[in-house]
Symmetry: none
Subunit: 308 residues, 5 copies
Amino acid sequence: MTKSSERVRQILSWYGSDNPGVLNNLARMLNHGTLGGTGKMVILPVDQGFEHGPARSFAPNAPAYDPDYHFQLAIDAGCNAYAAPLGFLEAGAFKFAGQVPTILKLNNSDTLAKMEPCSALTGSVKDALRLGCAAIGFTIYPGSSARNTMYEELRALIEEAKSYGLPTVVWSYPRGSGLAKEGEQAIDVTAYAAQIACQLGAHVVKVKPPKDVVYQEEAKKTFEKYAIPTKTLPERIKHVVQSCFGGKRVVIFSGGEAKGTDAVLEEVRELAAGGAFGSIMGRNAFQRPKAEAIKLLGDIMQIYKNAG
Amino acid sequence: MTKSSERVRQILSWYGSDNPGVLNNLARMLNHGTLGGTGKMVILPVDQGFEHGPARSFAPNAPAYDPDYHFQLAIDAGCNAYAAPLGFLEAGAFKFAGQVPTILKLNNSDTLAKMEPCSALTGSVKDALRLGCAAIGFTIYPGSSARNTMYEELRALIEEAKSYGLPTVVWSYPRGSGLAKEGEQAIDVTAYAAQIACQLGAHVVKVKPPKDVVYQEEAKKTFEKYAIPTKTLPERIKHVVQSCFGGKRVVIFSGGEAKGTDAVLEEVRELAAGGAFGSIMGRNAFQRPKAEAIKLLGDIMQIYKNAG
Amino acid sequence: MTKSSERVRQILSWYGSDNPGVLNNLARMLNHGTLGGTGKMVILPVDQGFEHGPARSFAPNAPAYDPDYHFQLAIDAGCNAYAAPLGFLEAGAFKFAGQVPTILKLNNSDTLAKMEPCSALTGSVKDALRLGCAAIGFTIYPGSSARNTMYEELRALIEEAKSYGLPTVVWSYPRGSGLAKEGEQAIDVTAYAAQIACQLGAHVVKVKPPKDVVYQEEAKKTFEKYAIPTKTLPERIKHVVQSCFGGKRVVIFSGGEAKGTDAVLEEVRELAAGGAFGSIMGRNAFQRPKAEAIKLLGDIMQIYKNAG
Amino acid sequence: MTKSSERVRQILSWYGSDNPGVLNNLARMLNHGTLGGTGKMVILPVDQGFEHGPARSFAPNAPAYDPDYHFQLAIDAGCNAYAAPLGFLEAGAFKFAGQVPTILKLNNSDTLAKMEPCSALTGSVKDALRLGCAAIGFTIYPGSSARNTMYEELRALIEEAKSYGLPTVVWSYPRGSGLAKEGEQAIDVTAYAAQIACQLGAHVVKVKPPKDVVYQEEAKKTFEKYAIPTKTLPERIKHVVQSCFGGKRVVIFSGGEAKGTDAVLEEVRELAAGGAFGSIMGRNAFQRPKAEAIKLLGDIMQIYKNAG
Amino acid sequence: MTKSSERVRQILSWYGSDNPGVLNNLARMLNHGTLGGTGKMVILPVDQGFEHGPARSFAPNAPAYDPDYHFQLAIDAGCNAYAAPLGFLEAGAFKFAGQVPTILKLNNSDTLAKMEPCSALTGSVKDALRLGCAAIGFTIYPGSSARNTMYEELRALIEEAKSYGLPTVVWSYPRGSGLAKEGEQAIDVTAYAAQIACQLGAHVVKVKPPKDVVYQEEAKKTFEKYAIPTKTLPERIKHVVQSCFGGKRVVIFSGGEAKGTDAVLEEVRELAAGGAFGSIMGRNAFQRPKAEAIKLLGDIMQIYKNAG
C-alpha cells in the first residue's frame, strides 16, 4: 500500500462513481508487487485445472499440481495479484493471508460437456470477502447464444461486489455459435468484447491479443473507411485500449498457449508498445520450472516498467 | 474423537481456510471406527435403493431392505461413516444417534426417467444438521449438458454447509452427452472430474477407479509428451491423487459393481498402493450376508492400515 | 464416538422429543474421554477470566493465562468437554479441532458493574456451529429481578440451538435482589433452580452443591412435613437429582472455590454417592499445576466410574 | 502487503479460527507503514471531535479541523492505520483510497449529555466495507450499568464483521457507576477490561496505561498473594499483555492527554519495555504542528522497532 | 440545474465518498433558485405547525395555513429548497412537482408532551423518494439523555438514504437534561453540535446562530488558551464553519424567532460575513405577508450573493 503514485491516483479517478472500498481494492492490486505504483499490472491466473483438466495444466511442471505452488509463485515473482477458482484459493488463502492480493474467479467452465459456451457459477461474492480477495473475476463469452445468462449474472455480481467494496475483473472471450473460429480473436471482435465488458461495469478487462483479421462485415467497412491500422500488434492493442473508454478502463492481455521465452517477451514488448496496462500470464508462467518462470515474469515486468 | 493423530492434523491443515466447525466434522469422520486416526477412510454408502431400485439393491440380501440394517452394518464393521439419502438416514438417525458419523446425500437420481444426467435435490443442509450428520454429500456429472445446474447447486450448498460447520463429500461421475461410454472411466476424464470437484470446494472427493484409457484428444498429447504412466491401477490412482491438489484433498474410490471377494480385495490393494485415502464400498458390502460383509470390510480396512 | 453403551442410550432416551442432531451432540460429550460411555461427565469450564478477572483466575497458575492451556488440559485429563466464552474458544478451536467436545458459553458477566445480576449475551448459536461446539451454555440467575430477560433469552437460544442439532447446558445460579446470601445455596433453592432449568428445556443442568439450609418459608413446611432429609450432602444431591425430572435430566455440580485436594475428592465422593451425573471443575483444576490437575481430575473420574 | 514477516505470520496464527479475510485485513495493518512487518503498531485515532468537541480537539493546531489533515498525517508519519468516526472517514476515504488502512469507529459518545456511559452506534459494518476499511472499532465501558447493551452490540458487530472478513479493534475503558474515579485506571481493572475485550472476540485491544493502584478487594488479595509486581509501568504493562490471552492478542496503549515530548517518549519507552504491541496516539500527535507530530511519531516507532 | 459552477463542483468534491446520486441531489439544491450556482443556500422550512402548533405558526399570516402557500412562496422567492414534515409535503408534492427541490423532515416533536427531548419518526426514506425530495431532514438534540436513540436513528437513515442517492440535512439543536438553558446557544456547544452532525454523516448542517457564551468548563480553558474570538457574531460563525470539517461541510443558520426586517437583515449580514453557507428562514418568511416575505428573502439572497 506504500507505493501509491500520481499514476495510480489518475487511474482511480476514472472510477469516481465507485465507493472508496472499490477504489481501495483496485489500489491494493495496483500498488502491490514489482509493478506497484506504475499503473501496470502482471497477474497470475490459474484456472486451467478447471478449464482444461489437471494433466494438460500441470503435468509440464508437476509441482504446480499443489495449490500452494501458485500462491508462492505469485509472491516470489512480485505479481500484482493471483486469480483462481474457489478450490485453489481456499487451499492457500489462510496460509498466505496478507501476502498477495487475490481474485476469486466466480465462474468456470470445463471441457467435458458439449454445450453452448456458458460458465457455471462456482463461487460467490461472500466467498471472495471471506477469503480476503481484492476483486472478483468473471468470464463472459460474447458470441454465445447463452450471452444473456452470463451478462445478467455478471450485472448482479458487480452490483453486489460494489456494495462490499470489491471491484470486478472480466475475462471477455468471444466464443459460441455466433462466431466462426477465425472471428474469436479478430481485432474488431476483440475490441467489441472489451467494450461490452466495460459497458457491463468491469473495472479491469482481460482479452486475448487480437489478430490482424476484421471479422464482421459492417466492421470491415468502418475499419476501411477510417483507415484504422491493424497490421501490427501494437496498432491493434492501441485500438483495443481506445475501445475501453478511450483508455479510461484498465485492459490487460492474456499470454495464451505456452510458447518459447523469446516469443513471449516479443509479444509483451508489442503489447506494452501498444499501451496495454499489463498481462495476465498463466500457462507461460506456471508450466515453466519455477526459477525460469520467475525470471520470465521479472523480464515481463521490466518491459512494462520501461514502457511506463 | 479420541484418536486424533499427527496424520489427521496434517490432513486438517490442508483445509485452513475453513472454520473449526468444518474441521471438527472432518475429524469426526477421520477419527471414527477401525481406521480412526490413520488418515484413511472406509465409508458405507447406500443410495442404490434410490439410484437402482429396491430389488436390484436389496434382494441379494433381504435384511438390507430395512434401513436399520445399514446403520448397524456401518457400526459393526467399524466404518468411518455411513452415507445415504434423506429417507434411509431419517429412518435410523434417532435410534443410532452418536454411534456412527453420517453423510446426508443431498441429491439423487433414479433410473426411471430418460433425461440428461442431473440428480434431483432430495435433502437440505438443515436436514443434515437436524439429523446430526458429519457432512453433506452431493453428486455431479461432469460431461452432462446440465453441468451448470449441478455445479451451481453444489456451490450454494457448500457455502451454506460451511457456514454451519459441515464439510462436503462430492461424488464426481463423468457422464452425459459430452462423453462416450468409454470416456466415463478414462484416466484423464476421472482425474479431470476429481479436479473439478476439488475446485468447486469439495472436502472429500469420490470417483470410480479409472481404466487405462485416455479419452480426450488434447489430454492424449499431454499424457504422451510427459509420459504419465497409466498402465496399472496404482499408477492411475497416483495420477488421480495428484490431480486432487497434489494430494492435499482426500480422494476415495468406489467399489463399483458387486464382485467376488478376491477381486474386491485385489482392487483395494491396488488402490492403497496408488495412495488412495480409502474406499466407499456399497453393493460389495450390503449385498453380502452380514458376517461376510463385516469380514470383507475388516480385510479392506486392514489393507489401508498396512498401507499407511 | 466408539464407546456408546446401554447407559448412554438410556440417557438419550429421556430426550426423545429432540431431533437426532441434538442426541448426537449429547452423545459426543457422553462418549468422549475417560468417562466416555459411563453416563457420567467431568467438564472443564473456564469462564473465570470474564467473570472474576484475569489475575484472580490465572495468577495461581500462570500458564493458564494462555487459552491453549485449557484445551490441552481438558484433552490430557480426558474430560468429556471444555466450556468457555467466545474469546477463549476461538483462540484454540482451530488448533484443537476434533480433539475435545466444546461448549460455547453464550452469556457472561463481569464483576466491575453494579447492577442486578444479568449476564450479557457474548456469543451466538451460529458461533457455536462455526466453532464446532457440541453444545451451547447459558447462565440464569433465578432470584434476580432481571429473571425474565434471562429466561426469555434462554428460551429463544434453546429453540434456535435445537433447530441446528445443538443441546444446551444451563448454569443455574440463584442470585439477586429476591434472595439473601444464605438462600443462594440452600437446598430448596438449589433444587428449585435446577427444576427451573429443566423446565426451560436444558439438556444438562449445572448447580452448586447445596448446603443444609432450607430458605423459603413455604418450602420449610414441606421439607418438615415430608421429612425430606437434607443433613448430608449425598441426601441433598439425591433431592436435587430427583428435582431434575425424577433423575431424567443430566445434572452436574460445580467444584466451587479452590480448595485442598482432599476436600475436593471428599466432596466428589459425596456428590457421586448422592447420584450426581458428574462434576464441572474449573478453578480446582486450572489453578493447580498441570500435572497435579490431571491427577486430581483422574481421581475424580475414577470416583464417578466406581459409582456407576 | 509486501513486508509480511515471520513475526506477522506468528501473530496471525493466534487467530486461526478466523477466516482468511479477517487475517488479510489484520495483515494489511500489521504490514503497513514504518512498523510494517515488525508486529508492532502505531495507530492515529481521531475521534476527539466527537468525544470532546471541536475546539478542545483542534484549536491547538488549527489545520486539524480539516479531515484531510489526519489522513495525510497518518500517511506521512507512516502509521499502521488511521481510526475515526464515520464523518471524518467519509470526508477523505475517496481522496486517500489505498494510501493508509483505516478503522471505522462504530460507536461514539459526546460530553454534552448526562447519562450512564454508553456510546451511540454511529456507523455500520457495511459502512466500513463501503469505505474500504481494514477493521471496525468499538468502545466498551466495563463498569457501566449499561454494560450489557454495549457488550451485546459489540458481539453482534463482531459476528457481522467477521462474516465479511473484517477484524475488530476494541477500545476498553472502565467507567461508570460501578467504579470510583480511582478505579478507572487501576492495574487490576485495566487488565480485567482488556481480558473482557479479548473474551468478547476483539482482535486488537486498546486500553489506557494503568496506574499503580489495585482497586478491587478480591483482586488485592490475589496481587498480594502471588506478588504480582505493579510498581513500574513496564511491570504493569507486562501484566496487561499477559491478561490478553497470555500475550496472544494484540494489545496497544493510548497516549492519553497531550503532554510534553519527553514525557510521551518516556512513557512509550516504558510501554515498549513492558511488551506492548504499540501505541494509539491521538491528541499527542494531531495537536502538535505537523512536522513536530511526524518527528514524534517517528521517534515512537523507532522505540518500538528497537524493542522488537 | 443548469447553473453548475466551479464553486458548486468544489463543494461536491468534499463529498467524494458518496455516490453520484447523492451528489446529484446536493447539486439539485445548490443549483436551484436565485442563489443557484453560488454555493450559497436559502431554504424555507415549515415544520412549526408540528413543532409549535397551528395558531402560533400561521395566525400571523392566515394564508399560511394552506400547504400550497409554502410551496408557492419557496418557488416565487427563488429559494434553493423547501423543507417540511410528511403532511405538508404530501399536500403539495404532486401539484408543484419539478418546481422546487424539497426536503422531507423525517422526525418531529410537538410541545404538548413533557419528556426528555427526542423527536418522533414521522416519515421514511421511501416517503422522500415517493415524494420526489432532494434530501431527507432530521433533528438531533445533543445534550439529551435520549441522545443515543436519535443518533442511531439518524445513522440508519443516512445509510438508507445514501443507498438511494439522497443526501441528509441535519438540524442540530443542543437541548436536554445535560444542558442548562444558557448552554443551548453557547458558542462552544453550538460548534460541538455542528461537529457531531458532521461526524454522523450529515451533508448539510443547520444550527442556530451562537451567542457569546462559552458553556463547558473544559471548553472555556481552550477558548482562553487559544484566544478563540467569540465577541462578534461573524467571529462565532467563523468558528462554527471551521468546526464543520474546516469548512468542508455546508452549514447554514436558522433565522430564529420572528423579528423586524432590519434585525433579520443585520443578522444575515453578520452570518454572511462569518462565512455561513446560507440561511434557513421559516417564521421570518411565512409569518410575513407574501410580498413582504419575498422581498425579505430576496434581500437576504442578495447579501449572500455579494458575500460570495
